[in-house]
């Protein structure tokens, strides 16, 4: 899968003959190997979720933050090189603060996403700088239009607005699961609520976690909805707990369902547990 850069991958200011900038692609690889960050734009708000692998048993629980508040109405979840992500978050905070000082209004989500994208992009075209090895998921609310939105800014500097997005290790299965959810039905009421979104994200993280291969993890979740007063807040712990309980039960029931259909099959009959 890895194609040889063969000399065109030494600097981010060099194109390869087939029009790629390898350094930017390698930066994206750094993100692909990190803990998953997921986001859902539900009918009544946005939810962000990060799977934090706990590398060391000596670590104090909940001590390392991956989701940061950038302004009262905006939050960013980072994955990849966490230190790189911190730089992006700090810049986003400055942009939001400057915007408010100039215009007396909260920075609109699209403007903030653009500014973050431009900042990240800047580091992909100067030879003496390296690209950010981090992807940011921006959940933001625009008080002028009363609409919440979800953006994702990648190491290349591109940013898009999403109904559901995922970055990091579990992004492929997450994207598949997200496509099954009611997120962008034409009739707004048919789409899932933020509460349902919290459950689904908890379910996804637990479902994709491989007990044998992956390290134990902590779940960090935040939301932006009416219940949070349209401010970026951490999802209350009891809500997360309830969501995780539901998620674990739902995964078990799904596996039992598979077990039952397995008993019908003569060939299969393996342990699904």
């Amino acid at each position: 899968m890895a194609s040889s850069g063969s000399g065109y991958d030494l600097s981010s200011s060099t194109f390869s003959p087939d029009g790629r900038i390898f350094q930017v692609e390698y930066a994206a690889k750094a993100v692909e190997n990190a803990g998953s960050a997921l986001g859902l734009k539900c009918r009544d708000g946005v939810v962000l979720c990060v799977e934090k692998p706990v590398p060391n048993k000596m670590l104090l629980p909940n001590s390392s933050r991956r989701i940061h508040t950038v302004d009262s109405h905006s939050g960013v979840a980072i994955t990849g090189f966490i230190s790189d992500g911190r730089q992006i978050v700090n810049r986003a905070r400055e942009e939001a603060s400057n915007y408010f000082e100039t215009y007396g209004t909260k920075i609109p989500p699209t403007v903030l996403a653009d500014r973050m994208g431009s900042y990240v992009h800047y580091f992909t075209l100067h030879g003496s700088l390296r690209p950010f090895g981090a992807t940011s998921l921006l959940a933001s609310y625009d008080p002028e239009t009363s609409e919440a939105s979800l953006h994702m800014v990648e190491p290349s500097g591109v940013s898009h607005s999403y109904f559901g997005c995922a970055a990091g290790k579990g992004r492929q299965p997450a994207k598949t699961e997200m496509e099954k959810l009611a997120l962008h039905k034409p009739a707004a009421e048919e789409n899932i609520s933020v509460r349902e979104g919290v459950r689904q994200l908890a379910r996804m993280v637990h479902a994709f976690h491989d007990e044998g291969k992956d390290k134990p993890f902590e779940l960090e979740m935040s939301w932006l909805c009416e219940e949070s007063g349209w401010e970026h807040r951490g999802v209350p712990r009891n809500v997360i707990r309830e969501a995780v309980e539901w998620a674990k039960k739902d995964i078990e029931e799904a596996e039992e369902g598979d077990d039952e259909s397995d008993e019908d099959d003569d060939e299969q009959g393996g342990d699904m547990e």
Binding site: T102, Y103, T105, T110, V111, E144
Partner: protein
């Protein structure tokens, strides 16, 4: 010497200024339009030397246009525009101040009453108001506005209040200001209601 009024009503803002362009004892022009359009749904009535008037209003309106071009057509609310203008006044204040006193009026769909009016002065103060006057006119006209303004006013009532103020000035103000121009900012944008002398007549 310039007179600037503004009255906010349910669904928009009325702005009015006199049309005199003068310095010391000499009157250069009697048909100047001192209400400049800032964006599709906002305008500023400005008093002060013509140089600063033009410089400042063009600077602000072009920067607002640049914002729309840079941000995919996103528009700034009247509140944001007023804050931006005040920030520029503040920045220049201790370098080379703009000697302008402004009433900035605009229409935003997202606000409750639609119209909003902001008072900015040459020292970079900023205050949202229901009605206001700049210059000597305030001595004569604020009391009329105090008495006549009410919440939920219509455009007709607001224009009538402005005309009452103009009549009062004609009656009692020492300086003769024959011509006034009145504009309205509402959901359809900025339009001229009445003028004393056609600004286009040059």
């Amino acid at each position: 010497m310039d007179t600037v009024f503004g009255v906010a009503y349910e669904g928009g803002v009325v702005l009015a200024t006199d049309q005199t362009n003068a310095r010391s004892i000499l009157m250069y022009q009697k048909n100047l339009d001192k209400i400049t359009q800032l964006s599709s749904h906002s305008a500023m009535g400005v008093s002060g030397p013509n140089s600063d008037l033009v410089n400042f209003t063009e600077y602000i309106s072009k920067n607002l246009a640049l914002y729309e071009l840079s941000n995919d057509g996103l528009k700034l609310s009247t509140h944001a525009q007023a804050n931006f203008a005040r920030g520029e006044l503040a920045r220049a204040l201790r370098k080379g101040p703009y000697q302008v006193n402004i009433l900035l009026g605009g229409y935003d769909e997202s606000t409750k009453t639609g119209g909003s009016l902001y008072f900015l002065d040459y020292l970079a103060s900023l205050q949202k108001v229901n009605y206001g006057c700049q210059g000597y006119a305030s001595n004569f006209c604020l009391s009329i506005m105090d008495r006549e303004w009410r919440e939920g006013m219509t455009e007709e009532e607001a224009v009538s209040t402005v005309e009452n103020c103009i009549n009062e000035l004609h009656e009692r103000f020492l300086i003769s200001q024959n011509n006034f121009i009145i504009k309205v900012v509402d959901k359809d944008g900025v339009k001229v209601v009445k003028y004393g002398a056609d600004p286009a007549d040059n």
